[in-house]
Symmetry: C2
């Protein structure tokens, strides 16, 4: 099931990359197929990268257009992505990229509503004119980095979910074996599983053996840290141009949440203690004692 | 329960606004309290806006610092936000802002992991120097708009969830009555419920009476369309500066998905038909007939 959840995430990331290439750069299906073919040779190589290139090459006999452009933008789902998202919630494990993919399919299914909404909710043009050759090259490089980094986040979210479930239910799942099965032949077989497997082979090297999150191994962290400037430009650009990129954006927020030693939930705790006396802990008390303040007397 | 889900979303949006003010502009708790007090007089007026200002004003007796800064950034949850997110998944209704808030609380609870991750996953500085007075004013105006627009999305996601559940289980819920109860006194009582209630009072005016999404009423759509340039700048800026803004970002993606007459799920359908023969529909066939292509013969 989690394999399918990751598949949803991977497909949604690909859809967003395709959308940005198409709507922002103005590339046609053949141009995009060529890029996916080229990417398939490198670290983005995978069954889904290859399938994307293949389907983009097919012409519609009736219209002569790329067949993909004659297909209604209304995705179905059989339920496995949704189950993954639900089980993740039950287990208290964030899989934001996978959940964003499930939501994106639902929004796509609201086709008649979206057509009416488009007339009322006007916004920026995705394409503001032809890009210079240099800008175009830069944006394609940026999209490659955003694809890679978002995808690693999707896979690691899914793998952590399996691990958390395994711990919760005493399943003793061997993730190395899981990824071996995935590599052997399935929809998410991907070259990026190789560095993940290298880390899984030496779990003691991750974060002093704590193994809490695979991203705390330098072999996986390094490429994401390197990709991040490009990744950030893609999220920023998509937001400014009005092109929805929920899965790429959710991956970046996940990465940024994880790497924030300080998050603003101190305010959340203050609010909760104010209206519900839920207590909080202090930064200067290592004992972690729960404290309550009678805020009403002080404000 | 959905009330609590919206509360999670609202609190997370506030936390992100606070974080951006603090980390990017460099405002201290008192400055931020003043802004929330001022905002509380306008369209952002609400119990939570007021509570935010109040808690930000309280000083810690021990350190003399703002008490909020002495609170550990590790949020608890009692489960109601999580239940809302799960029920939304079961009902096939996207509530991305609410789900992002649940995930953000979980990430905040990973405090020791985040502290270690911060050393490895280095990134941009949130604050790149003092802003000019004009840039500072602009950013504060942008944050007000992003707060308003993201918040409306959170409330509308929750209200649609109640409506979908009411339809599914024949509950006949009167949303006007629900919002009246909320207005009368609860954690999410907010002035922004007034325009929502005005729309609910004349449901026939929404989208030709179809009433599928309240955002298809010009009274709710107008302010969001107007806020969007500022809203986009906030999401873009947060991404570039490495400050996670999952709830504000998810709201914008929801808005952009809804207003996209064309989404890239045509590619998703092509992929699904390629590897699973799940069929697709054609844009030029209003009958909506399911079509399957034997892609393997053509690629």
């Amino acid at each position: 099931m989690v394999h399918n959840g990751i598949e949803y995430g991977d497909m949604q990331i690909i859809a967003e990359i395709y959308d940005l290439m198409h709507r922002v750069i103005g590339l046609d299906a053949t141009d995009i197929a060529e890029l996916f073919e080229r990417w398939n040779e490198g670290r983005l190589g995978s069954f889904l990268t290859e399938v994307t290139a293949r389907v983009l090459r097919v012409r519609d006999e009736k219209s002569g257009q790329p067949l993909v452009e004659m297909i209604l933008d209304q995705a179905g789902q059989k339920g496995t992505g949704r189950w993954t998202a639900r089980d993740a919630i039950d287990l208290g494990e964030p899989v934001p990229t996978l959940t964003a993919a499930v939501d994106a399919r639902v929004l796509s299914s609201w086709k008649p509503l979206r057509s009416r909404a488009a007339a009322l909710l006007t916004g920026p043009e995705a394409r503001t004119g032809a890009l210079s050759a240099a800008d175009r090259r830069q944006m394609i490089k940026d999209l490659e980095a955003a694809f890679y980094a978002s995808r690693v986040c999707a896979y690691l979210q899914g793998l952590r979910l399996i691990r958390v479930a395994s711990d919760a239910f005493d399943w003793n799942v061997d993730l190395l074996r899981v990824t071996q099965v995935w590599k052997a032949g399935c929809i998410i077989r991907a070259r990026l599983l190789d560095p993940i497997r290298a880390v899984l082979e030496q779990p003691d090297s991750v974060d002093g053996g704590s193994w809490e999150h695979l991203l705390l191994d330098a072999r996986l962290a390094g490429p994401l840290v390197e990709a991040q400037a490009a990744w950030r430009r893609v999220v920023s650009d998509a937001a400014l141009r009005g092109v929805p990129s929920p899965a790429i954006g959710a991956s970046l927020s996940y990465f940024d949440g994880l790497r924030s030693s300080r998050l603003p939930q101190n305010l959340t705790q203050a609010q909760r203690d104010y209206f519900g006396a839920h207590t909080y802990r202090r930064v200067d008390d290592p004992s972690g004692a729960a404290v309550h303040t009678d805020w009403h007397d002080l404000t």
